[in-house]
């Protein structure tokens, strides 16, 4: 990150009184925060909608292959059928209970994982000793697949909420830990020298130099952690739950209701996307680019 800045300032060194050639981009970024998105030129206004084109076409193809009997309806329901099922469950209120409990698990689990990951990442990033002690263990634990934890967590914590939340926390922990630890350890030596020359002291150099410098890495880690939280919630709910979208999935299989299965998958896709967009939005606001 710091390297980027140096490169950019190199580009703009030719004029001193005028603004550098890179000023436009970043200044625009700063302004758009207060003024809202800059209106796009008419031609490219609909460009983001291009991304909807292929999914829309897929839905049409999906409908056609089922309607024409190429794929049997008991294996794959039509899109409309899925929508009807979801709507029906929403209307009776059944759906909201499942969605709410899943979202609650993800929020609690991801939150816990992020907090613990931040603590460990900070410790190992700052202290060589902590890193030598903990990093080899954590690096190998991260390779354990999510499903492998499930039986152990059930054994330890029962089938209650805590087992699920903890499992999700494990998933969210690793990306946060890995990114933050690396980010803190990689803070530009040149900036640390500045902090030393100006006697910022340990606490102040952490607050004013190290943490802000590692913030983008933390946010990358949080984004990955939230993504993994959704993976782990499925693992937890598929196997041991009486509520939640993952439970809906396995319930759909038991009841031979492909419309419920596909509907649950779409719900996961939608909610996962929402959380990713939210985290990205936070990152863009905080990092400002």
């Amino acid at each position: 990150m710091a390297a980027d800045t140096r490169r950019e300032s190199g580009v703009s060194r030719d004029s001193d009184s005028g603004r550098g050639s890179t000023a436009g981009g970043s200044a625009g970024g700063a302004e758009s925060r207060s003024l809202g998105p800059v209106p796009l030129p008419a031609a490219s206004r609909f460009r983001p909608l291009l991304g909807l084109l292929v999914p829309a076409a897929l839905v049409v193809v999906w409908h056609l292959v089922v309607a024409t009997g190429i794929i049997a309806a008991y294996q794959l329901p039509t899109p409309l059928r899925v929508a009807e099922t979801l709507y029906g469950m929403a209307a009776t209120g059944e759906l909201w209970g499942h969605v709410a409990i899943t979202v609650q698990r993800v929020v609690l689990g991801a939150g816990l994982g992020i907090v613990v990951g931040t603590v460990f990442g900070t410790a190992t990033g700052l202290s060589r000793t902590a890193s030598d002690l903990l990093d080899p263990l954590l690096q190998s634990l991260k390779n354990i697949p999510s499903l492998a934890w499930v039986p152990l967590f059930l054994l330890w914590f029962g089938i209650g909420e805590s087992a699920k939340v903890l499992l999700i926390a494990v998933g969210a922990f690793f990306p946060v830990y890995l990114n933050l630890s690396t980010g803190i350890a990689a803070v530009d030596e040149e900036l640390l020298e500045v902090a030393e020359v100006y006697d910022l002291g340990r606490v102040e150099s952490l607050r004013r130099v190290v943490f802000p410098a590692a913030l983008p890495d933390l946010l990358v880690g949080i984004r990955g952690g939230v993504g993994l939280a959704w993976m782990f919630v499925v693992a937890a709910e598929l196997i041991a739950a009486s509520q939640g979208i993952g439970f809906l999935l396995s319930d759909g299989r038991t009841l031979a209701r492909p419309d419920i299965i596909v509907g649950s998958i779409l719900l996961f896709a939608f909610l996962g996307n929402c959380s990713d967009v939210a985290v990205r939005e936070v990152r863009d606001r905080v990092v400002g680019r």
Partner: protein, 250 residues
């Protein structure tokens, strides 16, 4: 402390090695209060090493280095500010916040007095109106002036400058040099400037210390007794420039 002038910065028989490589081999230097000293030398002669020792970034060395009478390994470096070769700004922070990094530890940057001090410095280095800008919105010369303001905010007994203008184009460089002279003249800060640019050294400094050889030691000292403002084309200045160049063995 040495006798009559009571130097702000005293270097006696400084020797510094990196592993088997001797970077500095017996450097002596005394800088008086308010003096502007330039240190020149070919690359690899240990110029930057000298500044790193003076600023307390290198704790391992032999000899004696004191600022205001205090050894740089025992708090003497606290009285030293440094402008690095690169601006080394916090790219997520605005100009005001970057300058505030230089405020001494006992000054709370959030007080109105501290803010005023920072704003004054931003004005001093000619960046009024850019207090809220971020480093990537500034040109190289402007960023280097933020770095200078940060050094001045520290209110150091000695301000060290490590080739601060070497990355700038010729015209910008000349402007920045004059600007540094103005600031130095207005504030009376003691300055040690390291440079490989002989013209710059002779134009700016009261005294030019020529480091030479490998390992580095003081090859010669050239006094520049020419009143300011100086003319870059002044024949006396040109003659001194030749003298320094000769001392460099070129």
């Amino acid at each position: 402390m040495s006798s009559d002038a009571d130097p702000v910065l005293a270097v006696d028989d400084l020797r510094k090695r990196y592993g088997d490589t001797v970077a500095l081999d017996g450097v002596d230097l005394a800088v008086a209060d308010g003096e502007f000293v330039a240190v020149v030398g070919p690359s690899g002669c240990g110029k930057s090493t000298l500044l790193r020792v003076l600023s307390g970034l290198e704790a391992e060395f032999a000899g004696r280095v004191a600022v205001d009478g205090a050894d740089v390994r025992e708090g003497g470096s606290d009285a030293v500010g440094m402008v690095f070769q690169e601006p080394r700004l916090l790219d997520w922070a605005d100009v005001r916040e970057n300058v505030a990094v230089g405020l001494p530890a006992d000054v709370d940057p959030d007080t109105p007095a501290a803010r005023e001090r920072v704003d004054d410095l931003i004005e001093t280095v000619g960046l009024d109106g850019f207090a809220g800008s971020r480093p990537d919105e500034l040109s190289g010369g402007m960023a280097q002036r933020v770095s200078l303001a940060r050094g001045l905010a520290y209110d150091p007994a000695v301000l060290l400058l490590d080739e601060p203008f070497s990355a700038l184009d010729r015209l910008t460089k000349a402007d920045q040099q004059d600007h540094l002279l103005d600031v130095w003249d207005a504030r009376g800060t003691t300055v040690v400037l390291v440079t490989h640019d002989v013209e710059e050294a002779v134009y700016l400094a009261d005294r030019v210390v020529v480091l030479g050889g490998q390992p580095g030691r003081v090859a010669s000292v050239v006094d520049v007794e020419i009143d300011r403002p100086r003319e870059r084309a002044d024949p006396d200045l040109v003659a001194l420039r030749r003298e320094v160049t000769d001392a460099l063995g070129r």
